[in-house]
């Protein structure tokens, strides 16, 4: 299992690199690209896919599909979603940049949160009572249609306030 994850991670890094470079040539279109090789992987058969709605920092809704067992971070990477800086530590619970906000019912249905996840969440910007780390949430069929909001980064809002005071 660990090996499989590592392998997938490797593939993701490569994929990201690939689309980065394509984006560089297809001026403007940073994120979109069809990658036939991901869908050829047996774990990503379309029949048991789950729909996820991300709401990005500009409030736009982005609907994608993921496979049960993938983490929400995996999906952001697989689908090349352009959330700046998302997943900096690559899902190792060391950064809090994969912070996502849910509505209360969804939050409850996501199950218990470990102390370690809470610890990292405590460093997240715009922390709410229904915040989770995307790399710690595994997709299941029951999450069909889930809405996950990427919070705004407020680093400098705070800083500029400090300066003026």
């Amino acid at each position: 299992m660990a090996f499989v994850t590592a392998l997938r991670r490797l593939a993701h890094v490569r994929l990201r690199e690939y689309s980065w470079r394509t984006a560089a040539v297809t001026s403007g279109a940073w994120l979109t690209s069809q990658r036939s090789f991901t869908s050829s992987s047996p774990s990503l058969r379309s029949d048991n896919k789950v729909t996820i709605n991300f709401v990005n920092r500009d409030g736009e809704k982005i609907t994608v599909k993921g496979s049960p067992g993938d983490s929400l971070l995996d999906i952001v990477i697989n689908e090349d979603l352009d959330f700046d800086g998302f997943g900096a530590c690559e899902g190792t619970l060391a950064c809090s940049t994969c912070h996502l906000i849910f509505d209360e019912d969804t939050y409850k249905s996501l199950g218990p949160v470990t102390d370690e996840e809470m610890d990292m969440l405590d460093l997240a910007y715009g922390l709410t009572d229904t915040s989770r780390l995307g790399c710690q949430i595994c997709l299941t069929k029951s999450l069909e249609g889930v809405v996950a909001r990427v919070p705004e980064s407020v680093a400098d809002i705070r800083q500029s306030k400090d300066e003026s005071s």
Binding site: L7, L10, A11, V13, R14, L15, R16, E17, Y18, W20, R21, T22, A23, A24, V25, S27, G28, W30, F37, D84, G85, A88, C89, E90, T92, L93, A94, C95, S96, T97, D115, E116, M118, D119, M120, D122, L123, A124, Y125, L127, S153, V154, A155, D156, Q159, S160, E163
Partner: protein, 485 residues
Amino acid sequence: MSGHKMLFSGLKLWTAGRSRWISRLHDDCSTKVCIVGSGPAGFYTAQHLIKARQDVEVDIYERLPVPFGLVRFGVAPDHPEVKNVINTFTQTARQSRCHFYGNVSVGTDVSVEELRHAYHAVVLSYGAEGNRGMGVPGEDLPGVHAAKDFVGWYNGLPSCRELRPDLSCETAVILGQGNVALDVARVLLAPLDILKKTDITQPALEALAESQVRRVLIVGRRGPMQVACTIKELREMVNLPNTRPELMAADFEGVAEALKDLPRPRKRLTELMSKTALEIPGEKEQQRRSGASHTWGFRFFRSPVEILADPERSRTAGIRLAVNRLEGSGEGARAVLTGEVEDVTCGLVISSIGYKSLPIHPSVPFDSRKAVVPNSMGRVQQAAGLYCSGWLKTGPTGVIATTMNSSFDTARSLVEDMESGTLDVSAAKPGSQSVSALLEKRGVKPVTFSDWEKIDGVETRRGEVVGKPREKLLTVEEMLQVARS
């Protein structure tokens, strides 16, 4: 696995080739930006710029032959996950519109003014390499070190190689209660079996193997509700094998009552600390604690007064601490001297009261009180075309994610200025072309990113032999030698 690899590297070649070709097409009308410093701030600023604008080219100048700043030389060796950001930085560096020039010290090898002539915009992100001193008598005694140097020593920062701290004493005192203090405490106390699987340097590992340090006191001016560390680092201390906490119940008076009004991060942090201090542990934990040969503890309400020397005045024998009381409450509480003092016997004092940015040149605005470059959203005040990001912009606090967000903000400001015309990009600029010529004239030979990848390869291979993720090269000479091989 190998099939995957081939497919992807094939793609890489193809796309790399194409984008290079495209970039050559609009080489001369591109906006040329240079970044000073290749830590997280430098790389995140570059990432955002390259991504936001197809017509921007970014050159990163770095003093050392190796990139990544404090990710390599600060982050503790037992935090390898934190260093995963290097993968993203590497992707940025491999972009055709990004170039890395290591071994170039801005201010010495090339001036900020020269960079400003060569580029449309210059982003300063050279971090915080200075140190806040304690300002107490005896701080120059052998056995007293700045945390910055101690951290640099175990992480292989070339300038700290000669530190060779004397670890023959039983008690070490760390001044300051932030995450760096806890990193140092952990490294001093961690079982060797943990450390030897990390990228800690071999000399540090050997010194720690001989270390007699059994007890680490982490001293702070104020109380448990004011510590600057975060909960992850505290939990690591609480769970550190072969150690037991040494906290004083009296320090936690009134803390339980104040908890309910605290914001969640502070509340959870304080709860974990008081629980560790006050709760009678379960049987298993009791067993663990009584079997532990090492201890760590917070000493609250204490300020350093003087480092005490041994009778020969040749080395550190202790520290005199003033006892404080708190005035006010919460984050803003002030430590006030009570007049009482307390002496603690110790052979090692590590002061971890903060990093500090240094001015780079009189022509660049600098706020020496806050030790930052004065800026609004990363735009250096009264200096068109000059920007700053990272610890130089915000002061030396926060985690990499903080640095990331604030670096993206700086990049956004720069892009906004390009678009609004505030930043004049109409005239073509020579960029690295003219700087390279200057450097060549001065006998400075930059290290490219692929040169660094050679160093990286050698380090990783050396590490593999001894079961570590990498064995760092420890001198600039060695790095340059491998880079040029």
